[in-house]
Subunit: 346 residues, 2 copies
């Protein structure tokens, strides 16, 4: 990131970069606290003096303008956080960006969006965070107006149409769904079903609309979507329901990987052969898809890189007030062993 | 948790509990900020007055003695955080305890233990956290002395023998390993191998010692341990190495679930039938073990509950200075489809 040097005050981050040490080390040295060697302390003090750093600007920088922390509030049950690979991978990627800048993540689980707004307000007005990420964007999300009113520095993780004035980082889900349906149709599938995420989530709504539109365009009947909560249990339930129907789909698209893995186990349990009698296509493509047999075909989305990118955009917002949205790489179809042309009609 | 009412100052948490609102709402009301209705504000102020709350103690409580935040520093690569179910389940369970008390988690990834010590020192001395959890305890862990010297309120997640003066929360890994080896030996296995975690980790060392001791006690030859890094890739590598050996084990115990799932895929790839030719036993038992075929037998350890317990113990340390260690429930053997008596010698 290129930053104009002349117009901004010297921060401990600049001193740290010039001296080749962590900001924590600079802070210890400048505050005359234990934790760095005398040699390092002397080198840091010399560097700070040479760069024109003064205690006042440093104090401001450290204690007021920069908390070296960004916030993430998740309005979802705790047990889902541990079970869904998406957020684990996203947080891990985000942490990679943050830790490179010696930033911490302030993480909070809440019951609902109203509580989430209250937490962001406390953190922001209490100067606990330099900025925040907004995730799980809903249609007409109440966070957008409430948090833009308080001037929160934030990046919205979701489609720009859901993000209001906040810069958005998103993947083009509509295009990816269209590609997935066209691929299965090109293999010869006519009865394609989808196990989607909760309908209130903005990206679930976008995917559902693209799924229906593409199925109509291709003249596919019975393009059913079953809503589920992203958990393995719910993916099993949805798959059993689809496979027990009078007219069974020959292909199922899942909105995440854990539901697809659960679907594969249900197919085995019901004696439905994958891919001979049923094609399965996962989303997100964590390591899980390659650890099962057959390996799952997936709309591969590098969630770790997505988390990294979201962190990078947030730094740009915090440091330069950037407002432009930026798409992440679109999911890419990775065919493996779970998709094939449909078998003969039973 | 029963707490003596008479001897301690009234905090906003007490007011919140009495008024039936969140501490955030109390804070907004007492600081006369937007975010709560006038009716709620009036009720909160009346409750606070009745309980003898005064602005001074509240200000202290809010800004100095209680940050409503606990810290967790992980010295491991970001990509592993996203791939290993253990930490996300642990953090999810911890978040369940924290969110019930309207606490946040301050999370930081660092490169090594030295940086971890520096971060804890900054957080603690900068009053950023009320307390912290120490995880991934090593043999002769340098964090123990450094952080006990600064008086950090913390709970060590690991065996008391590794925790120094910090209260510990741990699972009895030695007993669980012993049970696992005895179970496989009772099935008739004589060549049992183990894919363990990194040797520097305290609990890996404890498990390795118990594995070796039990194998000796039972007179089992070739009780090999291969160290791996908990990732699926490393679990695959270790399994290939064991199955390519001149004398192949008939049973393998894995130190987590993701490595066991990877081991199952490697067995399929090498044409080794599970459980007819090879028994596999996983550790931790997340949903993964039940999503593969055959389902994996496991030493089942409720990691989510372990995270909840660690959070509860930390609150006791923060609020009453408790120092006693407490074991979590020991892992329980859950036999599924991946363990059986060994087949005839090839």
């Amino acid at each position: 990131m290129s930053r104009p040097q002349a117009q901004r005050r010297v921060t401990i981050r600049d001193v740290a970069a010039a001296a080749g040490v962590s900001t924590a080390a600079v802070s210890l040295a400048l505050n005359n606290r234990a934790g760095v060697s005398e040699a390092t302390r002397a080198r840091i003090l010399a560097t700070a003096e040479k760069m024109g750093w003064t205690p006042n600007t440093a104090a401001q920088s450290l204690s007021i303008h920069e908390t070296h922390t960004v916030g993430l509030v998740l309005a979802r049950p705790a047990h889902l956080l541990g079970r869904e690979p998406f957020y684990m991978e996203f947080i891990a990627g985000l942490e990679k960006t943050l830790s490179a800048q010696h930033y911490s993540l302030l993480l909070r689980l809440v019951d609902d969006v109203a509580e989430e707004i209250e937490v962001h307000r406390q953190w922001w007005q209490g100067r606990r965070v330099d900025g925040a990420l907004l995730v799980d964007l809903q249609v007409d999300d109440p966070r957008i107006e409430a948090l833009s009113q308080i001037g929160l520095s934030a990046v919205a993780v979701g489609h720009p149409s859901l993000a209001g004035p906040f810069p958005a980082v998103w993947t083009d889900d509509a295009q990816a769904v269209t590609e997935a349906v066209r691929y299965l149709a090109a293999l010869g599938h006519r009865r394609i079903a989808r196990v989607g995420g909760p309908t209130a989530l903005g990206h679930s709504a976008i995917r559902a609309a693209a799924f229906t539109a593409t199925a109509e365009e291709l003249g596919l009947p019975d393009a059913t979507t079953v809503a589920a909560d992203f958990s393995g249990d719910d993916g099993s339930r949805a798959t059993r329901s689809l496979l027990a129907a009078k007219v069974r789909p020959t292909a199922i698209i899942y909105d995440n990987d854990i539901m697809a893995v659960a679907g594969l186990a249900v197919a085995a349990e019901m004696g439905v052969q994958v891919p001979q009698q049923l094609s399965l296509l996962a989303w997100d493509d964590s390591q899980l898809c390659e650890l099962v047999r057959p390996k799952l075909s997936a709309m591969s989305h590098d969630v770790f890189a997505f988390g990294e990118l979201a962190g990078q955009r947030l730094f740009e917002v915090i440091r330069s007030g950037a407002t432009a949205s930026a798409p992440a790489a679109a999911p890419v179809l990775v065919p493996r062993g779970s998709t094939a042309p449909p078998g003969p009609e039973r």
